[in-house]
Symmetry: C2
Subunit: 316 residues, 2 copies
């Protein structure tokens, strides 16, 4: 009999937590027991049946030891609880930004830097949604041709801001986002941090450096758009080596979890576990430059799927 | 008494035609007589009162000579009719793409290249909506610092595709766009032309070259987004001269029709006649590079307002 694992979902009733349950079930993760944590006690209908939900508290964590814990909570809650799980021997896979830039915490995209996952000290960080989808496509090009510079403009759905973001778009009742999002574009995601850049933009830059272990030159502009699910990214790459369009396309086609399409849209990609690249073409304005459009489901590959893939890697 | 002018609006019942009437009225253009043309006879409620609408035909054009004709019709209709008006001595200001790249037709943004408007042979072309809003902001930087390269990603509203585009977004009934636009992003505007680029993308490149009279290096990715009105553009510029952030900001603030804001959105800019630039910051990934976000109302500055400004220039 194959080994099975007890798995905690911390933040089990949120958008990402629910998607983690769906992905664990769809990918037949070998679960012996599920422990669901949320803000308060209750029950949840899941693909594994109706399950009790426990209020997240130190006592409840101690009473329910697990092999793995998938965290889909805010940075604040992750900071308060991740090490409590870790000291019990549970391996935490955390979707918040709390631990991503911590030198003792690996930041992992299983298709890109799987080996680093095993260097954990109890916590493994899931990258930012846009970083995941961009690097899943771009890392194979980095390996094959080198990347000199990357300029990114994102088109990010409201579900990236959680259930409240989705609710604001669907209801049209403003107040959660800084400006209305229904019938609008919001060219600022997260707070300003440094040099006029937002947290979201710096995540793409800094997480790319950490995951690829290189100070590749990156600039990013992140924009929230009024769609419910999936993020798009318009990416301009300058390669180090010269490459034909066919060679770049071929490298993308051979990349794990990457599909090359023509005009992939969120509508086509919702519910998928991979990343789709379209509109691939030379940028004739400069040597060795290419434009592409990258779409993925931000709740799946951009969050839950990547976390479950890390879990799959760790139990192999 | 100041001179007044007879003005024909060709395509008076479409989104841009109606906006031309609103802008003529709002800017107190000295109109002696308005002649409205559309597909068929009728009446139209306009800011100038209820007016007859004439079916566009050669006979109706001959019967109603005008000083100026503002065209808000397809390229096909423009090709069929613009020279009929021009041979009668009417100056045509055309919003289609039919004449833009014709060497004998000036392509004009009044804030950028006003002198060229007077070199017409009866037809003046209004640039593409995104070209207008980007160059209104960027041309002053080109003049002051030089531009070495410009990389653009657009976020374009459905009204750029006309009333049918608006109708599809508002009704949710698909079929007009190549893929659904409601709750979706469509990374292709116009047909493919060359090298994997769409007509819309090549317009930005080619029209920029013509308007600035320079082969400045440009690359563009154009994406339709599910908003009704205003286009956004994420623009990365590499200047030829070094400049501080303050100098670039100052040059934008001094530019005619440009407002510098922080996070301008379509919601803030709808109905406006200018262009708003926000999120201005250094791109630290390369020397002399800056990122900015440019928003304008595509039906006003991107179409009707620019056409009326050309008319104002010609009658001065």
């Amino acid at each position: 009999m194959n080994k099975q694992f007890s798995v905690a979902i911390v933040g089990a009733t949120g958008l990402v937590g629910k998607t983690m349950l769906a992905v664990l079930h769809a990918r037949r993760f070998p679960v012996s027991q599920l422990v669901l944590f949320a803000e308060s006690d209750g029950v949840a209908d899941t693909p594994f049946g109706t399950l009790p939900v426990l209020a997240l508290s130190q006592a409840n964590v101690y009473r329910n030891p697990c092999d793995l814990a998938l965290f889909a909570v805010s940075s604040e809650i992750s900071i308060a609880y991740a090490q409590i799980f870790a000291t019990m021997g549970t391996v935490v896979i955390d979707n918040s930004s709390a631990w991503r830039m911590d030198d003792s915490v690996p930041l992992v995209i299983p298709e890109v830097n799987p080996a680093s996952a095993f260097l954990h000290n109890g916590i493994v960080a899931n990258p930012n949604c846009t970083t995941i989808q961009i690097l899943t496509a771009v890392a194979p090009l980095y390996r094959k041709f080198g990347i000199d510079r990357m300029i990114v403009s994102t088109y990010q759905s409201v579900s990236g801001a959680g259930a409240m973001g989705l609710c604001e778009l669907e209801s049209g009742i403003d107040g959660f986002f800084e400006k209305p999002i229904k019938n609008n574009l919001l060219p600022k995601i997260d707070s300003y941090i440094d040099g006029g850049y937002t947290g979201e933009e710096l995540k793409i830059i800094n997480e790319t450096h950490k995951i690829l272990s290189t100070q590749i030159r990156v600039s990013a502009t992140c924009v929230r758009v009024p769609i419910t699910r999936c993020h798009g990214a318009s990416v301009n790459l300058r390669l180090r080596a010269s490459a034909t369009l066919g060679e770049v396309s071929q490298a993308l086609r051979e990349a794990p979890s990457v599909t090359v399409g023509d005009i992939p849209t969120p509508y086509d990609c919702v519910g998928g576990d991979g990343v789709t690249v379209g509109r691939l073409r030379r940028d004739e304005s400069e040597a060795n430059c290419f434009n592409m459009w990258i779409v993925a489901d931000n709740l799946r590959k951009g969050a839950a799927t990547n976390a479950v893939q890390i879990a799959e890697l760790l139990i192999r």
